[in-house]
């Protein structure tokens, strides 16, 4: 009896260990698939043009690492320019968007006014409209306004998001009514209440929205491509496409990879620092949509 029990237990433990090994093996394979492209781009970016082209079977280490590619990335193509453009575009768009959506969310959640429900219903129905549908007219509008190749033209169509207004409104509504009453008793104005109480309390949601918007801005490609054909106004996505099609004499893969590394780094660094916040934010933001 005892012996048999022991044996069963032993078998169970063995099975468990096998399971654990299988789980870790599979996850490691997945991690490898995810990381390999990153490894490859970093690796390649440190290989010299000559050594890259001489390796018929690519080596997994850079035998003669060089930073020449990074120099070329900043000198031969206007990478720094693309970078500054994207940086400005991201910051201005995100900041403007916050002003617009915070005011709207506040109106929907805290103020009582005629027509509120009707407008809100309209807003909700706009959430279903895909961007692809409105891009055509926006392209025409911005062109007619002579705003092609300007920052305004890049920024304006993306400063509102119905979804973020909705997300923030939900959050504002969770703040107890009593806080508002308490502030009223103390003679706090609506605007001061919004700035001093609601925004600080809703900070986690605002951070979530900021994260999502920054990622969106940094990676945006379609709209900038439509609205800019002057390299001075390219964002990094368009820049990388430009580099791929005509920069570095097309075949200088190591230099391209250096550019890719430079472009990918900011978001990756941001991600590694705010890992938990970003993951929580994306899962929150993604869920309610």
């Amino acid at each position: 009896m005892m012996a048999e029990e022991k044996k069963n237990k032993g078998a169970g433990r063995g099975k468990e260990r096998a399971g654990a090994i299988a789980r870790y093996t599979l996850l490691s394979i997945w991690a490898l698939i995810v990381l390999f492209p990153f490894y490859w781009m970093v690796l390649t970016s440190f290989k010299s043009y000559a050594s890259y082209n001489s390796e018929y079977v690519p080596r997994f280490v850079a035998t003669d690492p060089t930073v020449q590619n990074y120099k070329s990335a900043f000198t031969e193509v206007p990478l720094a320019r693309y970078f500054t453009n994207t940086f400005l575009f991201t910051i201005i768009t995100t900041a403007l968007m916050h002003v617009v959506i915070i005011l709207a969310a506040y109106a929907f959640s805290r103020l009582k006014f005629r027509g509120k429900n009707a407008v809100f219903a309209l807003f909700l129905s706009l959430m279903m409209i895909p961007n692809e549908l409105v891009v055509i007219t926006n392209y025409v509008t911005i062109t007619n306004w002579n705003m092609r190749n300007t920052f305004l033209g890049l920024i304006l169509p993306s400063v509102t998001s119905v979804f973020y207004i909705y997300l923030l409104k939900e959050n504002f509504e969770q703040i107890p009514e009593e806080l508002y009453k308490a502030a009223k008793v103390d003679g706090t104005s609506d605007l001061k209440y919004l700035l001093k109480v609601m925004i600080p309390i809703s900070q986690p949601t605002i951070i979530t929205i900021t994260i999502l918007k920054v990622i969106e801005c940094w990676n945006s490609y379609v709209w900038p491509r439509l609205i800019t054909d002057d390299k001075n106004h390219y964002l990094v996505s368009n820049g990388i496409q430009e580099i791929r099609e005509s920069g570095f004499g097309r075949d200088n893969v190591p230099a391209m990879m250096a550019a890719v590394v430079v472009i990918s780094l900011p978001l990756i660094i941001l991600f590694l620092i705010f890992r938990k916040k970003i993951m929580a934010g994306v899962s929150r933001g993604g869920l309610k949509g």
């Binding site: 107890p176 308490a182 009223k184 008793v185 600080p200």
Partner: protein, 367 residues
């Protein structure tokens, strides 16, 4: 400061938009709250007491009627101009601010000549904190404090601007039983120290009775009775007030008056009523029963609950209405014979009330 409410009425449109009748939350309220007193506004939930408080505070404007603070008509003034401090049921502390900043918040709204310097603010904040004894918690956030401590912060925040009137909305309902006792003593102490006229809303009659100078009993937006707690308890003006005050609650029997005798079923429990013959509601406080072998009222014994100081006798009587059992509280040392399954009581006349069968107004209150 004295607060006078004259014909104060608040009607809300019905939430269901299809019904056009209005909901009357407060109806023709006439009250004078004396200066420097602690007044408990008491009533079951939904009776309009919170609305009454919001009207006094200025968060709501009355449909009709006037509000005076001393001689000033404040009916149309916004809350911040009335000089009131308010403590909310859930404390309404700003979760992102420390205790110090929470208490300072109202002061930062002062404008013009009222504007305070940083030092003055700090001084006022510390003063308020000292009053409610939270000086050592000043740098905590609300989430790092117990309910009782949060309550103190809320009171400090209401007091810091030196209001003429302090309003508390269900100040104790979010606290556990032990803290509730402690905190209500605390509120009493603070009120006595500051002499600020204070109105607090509660649905807990024990709470209101224990610390108020005056209580106001409300039902369905209507003021039923105002007076000193003991007076209201001893001399309720109607069946509702009688039932609402006291634990365990008053026992109510369907009975009648016949030739000056008060009858429950066939038992005559009191002689000498001045009322003419009629059916009445008979109210007897639990402490109004005297256990006696040949007592006037006979009940079927159900259970005896020993509570140390007193004994609670649970029994049944056919004429009882409202609750399922009669509760009689008798001193613990009274010997009790339980074999027969019957108990008999005499009734203390001072604990006996007769109410009109229809209007439920008190008819006879034997002193």
């Amino acid at each position: 400061m004295k607060v006078v409410l004259e014909h104060l009425t608040k009607r809300f449109p019905n939430r269901n938009k299809k019904i056009h009748t209005e909901v009357v939350a407060v109806s023709d309220f006439n009250v004078e709250i004396p200066d420097g007193q602690l007044v408990g506004l008491l009533g079951p939930s939904g009776c309009g007491k919170s609305t009454a408080l919001n009207l006094i505070c200025g968060l709501e404007t009355p449909t009709e009627g006037k509000i005076y603070f001393d001689a000033d008509d404040v009916t149309e003034l916004p809350p911040e101009k009335r000089g009131v401090g308010m403590v909310f049921q859930n404390y309404a502390l700003y979760p992102h601010l420390t205790v110090r900043k929470n208490i300072m918040f109202p002061l930062q709204n002062f404008k013009g000549e009222d504007k305070l310097t940083k030092e003055q603010m700090n001084e006022r904040v510390m003063e308020a904190a000292r009053l409610v004894q939270i000086e050592e918690l000043m740098d905590r956030k609300p989430s790092e404090m117990s309910g009782g401590q949060q309550q103190r912060v809320a009171i400090a925040r209401a007091l810091v601007k030196m209001p003429r009137l302090l309003l508390l909305d269900e100040p104790l309902s979010n606290l556990d039983a032990r803290l509730r006792l402690q905190t209500r003593e605390e509120i009493r102490r603070i009120q006595k120290e500051t002499h600020i006229t204070t109105v607090f809303v509660t649905h807990d009659q024990e709470e209101a009775m224990s610390i108020s100078d005056f209580i106001i009993v409300m039902k369905d937006g209507v003021l039923n009775q105002m007076g000193k707690p003991q007076d209201v308890y001893d001399h309720p003006v109607n069946l509702f007030v009688a039932k609402f005050l006291g634990t365990p609650p008053i026992n109510v029997f369907a009975g009648m008056v016949l030739d000056g005798g008060v009858y429950i079923g066939s038992d005559c429990i009191y002689r000498g009523s001045k009322l003419k013959d009629q059916e009445v509601w008979i109210g007897i406080r639990p402490e109004g029963f005297i256990l006696k072998k040949d007592g006037a009222l006979t009940c079927d014994l159900k259970a005896v609950e020993v509570m140390g100081r007193d004994t609670s006798i649970v029994c049944e009587n056919e004429a009882l209405t409202g609750q399922p059992t009669v509760r009689a509280i008798i001193p613990a040392e009274t010997p009790l014979e339980t074999k027969s399954g019957k108990v008999r009581f005499d009734i203390k006349p001072s604990k006996l009330y007769l109410f009109d069968k229809q209007t439920e107004e008190v008819l006879e209150d034997i002193r």
